[in-house]
Symmetry: C2
Subunit: 193 residues, 2 copies
Amino acid sequence: MMKDAVIEHGESSMAPLVAASVAAGGVGRAVSIADVFLRFLAIVATIGSAVSMGTTNETLPFFTQFIQFEAKYSDLPSFTFFVAANAVVCTYLVLSIPLSIVHIVRPRAHYSRLILVFFDAAMLALLTAGASAAAAIVYLAHKGNVRANWFAICQQFDSFCERISGSLIGSFAAMVLLIALIFLSALALARRH
Amino acid sequence: MMKDAVIEHGESSMAPLVAASVAAGGVGRAVSIADVFLRFLAIVATIGSAVSMGTTNETLPFFTQFIQFEAKYSDLPSFTFFVAANAVVCTYLVLSIPLSIVHIVRPRAHYSRLILVFFDAAMLALLTAGASAAAAIVYLAHKGNVRANWFAICQQFDSFCERISGSLIGSFAAMVLLIALIFLSALALARRH
């Protein structure tokens, strides 16, 4: 009778601990799988943006008529920065995939998650800087600015403007994905105990 | 003798746990104090940027000679966005200070840290977008662009250009501080156990 009571007490005090531990491991694993998935989406988005912006000069044959007004992404430094930022973030995301997969196997790892949070935040800043600088120039190309005497160039370069505007979408999607990735890593760190 | 051994065993198994617990609390508190400090620095940086950009039209009296070329931050939408982004981030940082102070008192809080990580990341994206869009236009104002037929306006508006260039510094400093804040929150979450 006494022994049973002890065992029962022992079980009842262990059970919530074990359950919490399993739940934490489950949350960590689910978060890690979502992490890998979102990283793949972000890779696709940044590649799409970089390629779409980077190939704009080749795909518009009618620009050959205007010899001095041929429009390329490399004519504007902001667009070159945009392509570079997307390429760097994409490379980082590819390199971070193995670490992210390790987290599925070991959901309780925390220092490696810390490293990912730091680099994710830095890459979020880099990608946002590239996307936003390009967006500022795209806006100027569409609207121009009367006060600064800068004319809208999209009247002449209609298809060019459409393409560069479209290529921003991938970067802005990747920004949202990176914010989600930072949050997921923090969630995994918070639930790990 | 038996009793002594049991107590000794009990102490030796408890001691590392208590030490680890105290150390984790200490790290959490130190991180929370650094968090509040960095938030104050970021508030000063974003206020400085917003005010410096926002007051540029008032402090350059020689612009009154040029009636149609008077330079204000509100002439360019990117600068208006820059001021708005800095103001929003500054407001958020002021509102987050009380929560950050709560973390000094309760270093083990984790869901509130999770909320801070998420909003810090979102504010990092907003601030970077504002700073980068303004930087792209500042670059254009300094260098112009031959291909797009946009002329550099900094030859005429020298002081204006100096001020708007200078006002970017605060935003870029605040960006670095926000990345540090995200890392610190993640560090506090990782060490909390």
